[in-house]
Symmetry: C3
Subunit: 237 residues, 3 copies
């Protein structure tokens, strides 16, 4: 992909955001893109390839928002970074003149998304790439079920440190009294990872704004033995 961009958009800087999204984890990719994109210069072109459906009938799209252009498969990976009220234009990538030729059936990152991103970065406008579409596939965070003062949530992402991010936006809930996971109860939210004793479980608001379970100086994944999909309860005031 980088070779294609270097060939077709010489001099355009390319930045690796992450190569750590687990295979097929469209939601994790969508979360990472939502978290990273706002920090880039306005109009930056973001390519996101978590693409288990490559070669099937799933669409390839480019999305212009009020701050960025997103390129990738239309499977939800672009969705969280492009909330509907910020989308200006969605086009389906159909004009094969912008693709590599021959095009493989198994790596659209290289053959479609990288050359299209290079085209956009060098001045091609979205309407040139294919027909406008009214909507795109969206994957949301799993729904949270409210049960009195208890929010039934789950782990949606496990990072490099073994921290367990949940689907609960810290800003959306009031005071947190407790977080329960894997039979353990954590009292309230700590301000940061360094609170509590070494080895102790803490719940924090992470840098993506999500409530996250961590172990000071350790890995919550390893200590608790749970991962993505594990149920979490957040008890609010």
């Amino acid at each position: 992909m980088k070779g294609v961009i270097a060939s077709r958009a010489p001099g355009v800087p390319v930045v690796d955001v992450t190569h750590g999204i687990p295979p097929q984890a469209v939601l994790a990719g969508a979360l990472a893109l939502r978290a990273a994109a706002p920090y880039f210069p306005a109009g930056a072109v973001h390519v996101a390839v978590v693409d288990p459906g490559v070669g099937t009938a799933r669409r390839a799209i480019a999305v212009e928002t009020d701050g960025a252009v997103l390129v990738g498969p239309d499977n939800g990976v672009l969705g969280l970074a492009a909330p509907a009220d910020r989308v200006r234009r969605i086009v389906e990538l159909t004009d094969e003149r912008f693709f590599l030729s021959p095009r493989s059936r198994t790596f659209d990152g290289r053959d479609v998304f990288a050359p299209v991103a290079a085209a956009i970065a060098t001045g091609t406008t979205l309407p040139a790439l294919g027909p406008e579409r009214r909507d795109m596939v969206r994957v949301g965070l799993p729904p949270i079920v409210r049960d009195g003062s208890r929010l039934r949530a789950e782990v949606v992402y496990v990072d490099h440190f073994g921290n367990l991010a949940t689907n609960v936006q810290a800003a959306d809930v009031g005071t947190v009294r407790a977080v329960e996971v894997a039979g353990c109860t954590i009292a309230g939210l700590a301000p940061t990872f360094g609170d509590g004793a070494p080895g102790e479980l803490v719940a924090i608001a992470n840098s993506w704004g999500l409530i996250e379970i961590a172990v000071r100086g350790g890995s919550a994944r390893d200590v608790l033995g749970v991962g993505a999909g594990a149920p979490v309860s957040v008890v609010v005031a």
Copy 2:
């Protein structure tokens, strides 16, 4: 290595192709380089360091092909990207003026290959680097044994997804009737990863042109419990 290049070739863009080649896996490195190099601009300098023999008598070389310059140890890692009919010049890197000084015995990537690549990227021609050589070490894909309509092949590379790439070039064989691996039989080649039911084994032509065994939405390595070197039979028409 990047610091050396930034110091000696300021402003020359550097791209990471992969840091995922398994230790000592010269053939995997050679396959990755062959797959990536054609997508870069003509004349790009590629440095490949899979170098278990660093510090021994193995040569250090630079190879000019019709499309690129390759720099690395002469152990085969450069060979698949430099087929004999495309090689223009091979030189042994002997002129220590281009190396870092002092030079360690354990990291020629930093001390030899990076500074030589920086020199080439800033205009040094190959003859200045050392004497011309007539040949280079080549590691081929393991041979395929034909047994009637059955090709006895093997897994040569396991990627990040757990996909099992074989030594069979899809373009070199006719219609594939079946692929057999680890006691399982896969009927024919699927066009892409997304065919079949979730969890089902598929065989495809991967983005490097090799027949590859995958599991839809999963890891063939984990499902089958095999890795590089595992025997694979491809039954052709």
Copy 3:
């Protein structure tokens, strides 16, 4: 972090040195920074974020040495690259005008260190960033205990290959007669990884200048079953 730098210091090249430091491993980060920094152009700005104390009262600092500017938490990660006799200035990062706003409690890499590095790379001098400090936190290599001709040392870093780096600087000891680890005795230092038979244990001086235990064509970590903290004896002449 890269988005912040791209936004605030457009055109300034950014290089990934490593994303492979184990979580919370401040000493490993300090060793990697000490090893890499000298190879970069004079005045390069190095950001090092191994930061288990993010959000606590630990200081954030920038350090100017005779060859570089280092930015990161004041927890020791910058210390080995900034020996006292090479430090020109240490400032505490207190001027929030250089930070992102709002600033999270959990990711100073993005919110503090990246924007400060961008400011320095675009001409801000250290005194503008905050008050000068006389010292910084230092983490040293664990002490080596001399017992006759035996140096009682330990493994301080395990790399991607499973090589076991110790706290013994090869240049600081005389002739090495033997290295003992995990019940095995290795006779003397080999010049390089490729010495000995495949699968054999060797001790070498690694590219960071440290005595390191390796297995030719294999992983010393896997063969010996030990990691960081494991005791090592170096028997000298």
